[in-house]
């Protein structure tokens, strides 16, 4: 999960459906403020045969052919399914390999979790969410024409236990081996390890069964992550697999030069009739790395012939924004809220006075912090811990403070004191500007702030150390699926705090909150959403561990010949499964 909060450009991870595997949510929770309204994601797990059957619904006016170019600042961290935990990485690899389940989207918000490799989203065998069974479709083949089997899926799960491949999500692993380090006993299939972890069985080539010690009704969602992508043992090149995954999807890797370019071409053995998610219109994709954000935006604004079939996942930088709001360029903007909430963490180990933490909430100018990184295009001011896209979301404001802050109330709470605090920030241009805006408002309102710049690549390592020497630092968090269960426990359960690598960046450690987390977890799935929201408000009102600053939004461009470019509700970035080149 930590990787999700690394940088602004990484964006939101994964899922955005309803609370559990068993409910449907359609409640809206807008934030207004002139930006596109953030909504609780709508959709459900669908067992309807029509939803689960391929081929994917055709896009009106779309034809096969052409190459889509994706312009990027940086290369992907990983393509290996075991190490795949970044939203745009997941979108990209969704073209190369398939998981047991996946999200069917069309840009209208009618998003469904359906079977991808599996015929349906999985069977809760005993009705207690402890045993889940998935049956693979007929006719699934790899790029070399060999059949995809359930043993390959099991091998994919097994290798995600290997310490060398540990960057991916760990839901299924931890559910299989709860109560501590998931790979303390099973370290993957390498070096003489068992071919599959305990609790993963493949009674035949079409069936894979997961048996968990505890109930996990979220399994259909967890199965949508790349952890369940098939990796045939014979094609497993261990850490090398990162550079050349073996295709079970509509495209295969044609060439990959790290940090330079990745080219995908058609996998002739992919059968569209077996795939309800992907239309695979383009003949290929080319990902170009190493470009500056401004360069990317300028190229897409200019829309020169070579860039007309290009798009980006990189937000338009503030300097270029003004030229994207009118005329034909505006028609090529894809924007909307994501699942991220950015908060200014208050290190509660160092800032122990509750009144000072409250004063900080009154003192921060959220508007200025947003303007520093693009204003409304970058997000809307926040007041809660969870994003409005979370199931069960209910807007509240613990302090009733305007987005620009309330200087008088801050000063009243301080009572003439001038707390000296260290504000740490990543050393990127945008984050530095944003920190400066925050520093300015805090300084004007009675605080004495010392800025500390941290190298962006080690920012979260630094602030994730329990005994870090900083009082305030920004952090963003997006859920893996939009329930409080993937937000509140990882961020506010004090029992999870370790010497380093922490996700609980406010280091709030309260036994009452931990107990409440345990209580909510044990509730029936349908009751959890509202309870997570109550806990969100309780934490903010009673403990004030953070200053909610903004709900994140994305604002990106595409070329004039890119068709069906829409923001994925599941991933918070342009979806590529049904994109096409306008002929």
């Amino acid at each position: 999960m930590r990787r999700k909060i690394r940088t602004l450009s990484i964006g939101v991870l994964s899922v955005a459906l309803v609370a559990t595997g068993c409910t449907r949510t359609t409640e809206d929770g807008g934030t207004g403020n002139g930006n596109e309204e953030a909504k609780t994601q709508t959709g459900s797990i669908s067992y309807e045969a029509a939803d689960n059957q391929g081929p994917a619904k055709a896009v009106e006016g779309a034809t096969k052919g052409g190459t889509i170019t994706v312009l990027r600042e940086f290369d992907f961290e990983h393509l290996d399914p075991a190490r795949n935990y970044v939203n745009v990485q997941q979108l990209t690899t969704g073209l190369i390999y398939r998981s047991l389940t996946g999200y069917k989207e069309n840009g209208t918000g009618e998003m469904l979790l359906v079977g991808d490799l599996a015929r349906d989203p999985g069977k809760d065998v005993n009705g207690d969410c402890k045993v889940w069974e998935f049956t693979l479709r007929d006719g699934l083949k790899y790029e070399d024409g060999s059949p995809v089997t359930s043993k390959d899926v099991a091998h994919g799960v097994a290798r995600s236990f290997a310490p060398q491949l540990n960057e991916g999500p760990h839901y299924i692993q931890q559910w299989l081996y709860p109560g501590g380090e998931y790979n303390a006993t099973y370290k993957g299939p390498y070096d003489g390890g068992k071919p599959a972890p305990d609790g993963v069985e493949t009674p035949d080539d079409k069936t894979i069964r997961f048996t968990f010690p505890e109930p996990h009704c979220d399994m259909p969602y967890a199965a949508a992550m790349a952890t369940t992508a098939p990796v045939p043992a014979a094609k497993d090149t261990k850490t090398n697999y990162d550079l050349r995954p073996f295709s079970s999807g509509p495209y295969k890797v044609k060439s990959y030069q790290r940090d330079v370019a990745l080219e995908l071409e058609r996998n002739p053995n992919w059968d569209p009739d077996s795939d309800p998610l992907r239309t695979a219109y383009p003949d290929g994709f080319r990902f170009t790395f190493g470009l500056e954000a401004a360069q990317i935006a300028e190229r897409l604004v200019a829309d020169a012939p070579a860039d007309q079939t290009a798009f980006t996942w990189t937000d338009v930088p503030p300097a270029v924004l003004s030229r994207t709001t009118t005329g034909p360029v505006a028609e090529r903007v894809v924007k909307g809220p994501t699942q991220y909430t950015w908060v200014l963490n208050i290190n509660t180990q160092r800032v122990t006075d509750l009144n000072i933490r409250k004063a900080l909430n009154y003192a921060v100018d959220k508007d200025a912090a947003l303007k520093a990184i693009g204003g409304q295009a970058a997000g809307t001011p926040a007041t809660t811990l969870m994003s409005p896209t979370t199931a069960g979301f209910k807007q509240y404001d613990a302090f009733g403070v305007p987005p620009t802050g309330d200087a008088q109330k801050a000063k009243d709470l301080l009572g003439g004191r001038t707390p000296e605090l260290v504000l740490a920030h990543a050393n990127t241009e945008l984050r530095t500007q944003q920190a400066e805006a925050i520093r300015k408002s805090l300084t004007e309102r009675g605080f004495k702030i010392t800025m500390k710049s941290i190298e962006s690549s080690s920012y979260y390592d630094e602030v994730g150390r329990k005994n870090n020497p900083y009082d305030l630092y920004l952090g963003g968090w997006g859920s893996d699926w939009p329930t409080g269960s993937t937000i509140i426990p990882p961020l506010y359960d004090g029992r999870e705090i370790g010497p380093e690598g922490n996700q609980n960046l406010s280091y709030l450690n309260d036994a009452g909150i931990s107990a409440e987390i345990d209580r909510v977890r044990k509730l029936p799935a349908a009751e959890q959403d509202a309870e997570w929201m109550k806990l969100d408000e309780k934490i903010m009102r009673e403990f004030v561990p953070v200053i909610p600053v903004y709900y994140d939004a994305t604002y990106v461009l595409h070329g004039s010949k890119v068709g069906n470019a829409f923001l994925s509700d599941a991933f918070g970035a342009i979806q590529v499964n049904t994109i096409h080149v306008k002929q």
Binding site: H170, D242, Q257, R258, V260, L291, E298, A302
Partner: protein, 329 residues
């Protein structure tokens, strides 16, 4: 002449050994552990130790240096078991981030940098020297004043300013040129040239300004020398006096500077590559620094030094060819 070259080569080898030692020292001087960076999240001490093993940074320093140097000549193996990697000679290290030998990375990136630098150098030397010579021969004319004015403007600008202006005017605003891209010369020469035209124009204009001014000054100085006057007095055709006598003498310091400029440019094209989004050695170096991909950093730093050393040797040799007195000294 052979003795001269051998002497220069020996000095170059010693220089490179010193540079390799310093670069190797830098590898260990950085504050972050490359193993920790590479290990990813949830890394235990045991995991980090494994990565260190794979990186080969647990052996004593002298042994590591010896392995590094011997790897250049005979190749070496990194890691063990399932994670063993072969690095054939000339092995400059193994990048586990890229999962390939550093030599391969360098080989992939170097053609981009070479194309930018040599293409631009051809423009700046040809344009600069020609303009400078003509200006000197037409001293005081409108052409001379114009050339001096333009070259003054060129010499005052930086690539990150002029490059962006050209990019905006020729690519973003008018679409006259495509956004620079690199296509291998062997694959499509026309596309190669078109894709690199903008960086060539930028670097070519900026550097030619300097060369025009230098060439003009050198030529003017040479034209006033006694031997030129003698040549003229002997009744030699002016063209021959200018090309055979004056130009040969004037060009000597220009060759020196050109050699060093090219050597420096080969090792330091990061700004140009960044502005034009080209993935050459400079960009590779900065990316490697960002990701603490230290084997790549070490190799590119070493390469930059090698370029300068080679440029020095070439300059020395050319100097000796042009001016025989150098050989005697």
């Amino acid at each position: 002449m052979l003795r001269f070259i051998v002497r220069r080569l020996l000095v170059a080898v010693v220089t490179l050994i010193v540079i390799s030692l310093v670069t190797f020292g830098l590898f260990f001087a950085v504050p972050s552990s490359p193993a920790k960076v590479m290990c990813g999240k949830n890394c235990t001490a045991e995991d980090i130790a494994q990565v260190e093993e794979r990186l080969g940074i647990r052996d004593p320093l002298p042994e590591q240096y010896t392995n590094f140097v011997s790897g250049i000549f005979v190749g070496r193996t990194f890691g063990s078991g399932d994670f063993e990697r072969e690095c054939p000679a000339p092995c400059l290290g193994y990048s586990f981030r890229n999962d390939q030998p550093v030599t391969e990375i360098v080989t992939q990136r170097a053609p981009v940098t070479f194309s930018i630098v040599f293409g631009a150098a051809a423009i700046w030397i040809l344009l600069g020297v020609t303009l400078g010579m003509i200006s000197a021969l037409r001293r005081g004319t409108v052409f001379d004043r114009l050339a001096i004015g333009v070259s003054l403007a060129g010499a005052s600008m930086q690539v990150y300013f002029f490059g962006l202006i050209l990019l905006y005017l020729l690519v973003y605003a008018t679409g006259l040129l495509p956004f620079p891209t690199y296509t291998p010369l062997t694959e499509n020469p026309a596309k190669w040239a078109l894709g690199l035209l903008l960086p060539w124009m930028t670097l070519g204009f900026l550097n030619s300004a300097l060369y025009a001014r230098l060439s003009r000054a050198q030529m003017l100085e040479t034209l006033s020398e006694d031997f030129v006057r003698t040549a003229r007095a002997k009744g030699l055709p002016l063209r021959r006096v200018h090309t055979r006598h004056a130009l040969r003498a004037a060009i000597t310091p220009i060759v020196t500077i050109a050699g060093l400029d090219i050597g420096t440019a080969l090792g330091g094209t990061f700004i140009t590559e960044t502005i034009f989004g080209l993935q050459g050695l400079g960009k590779a170096t900065v990316e490697a620094v960002q990701y603490l991909n230290l084997p790549v950093v070490m190799a590119t730093v070493l390469l930059a030094a090698i370029f300068i050393v080679i440029a020095n040797i070439v300059v020395d040799v050319l100097y000796a060819v042009i001016d025989p007195r150098v050989r005697l000294s």
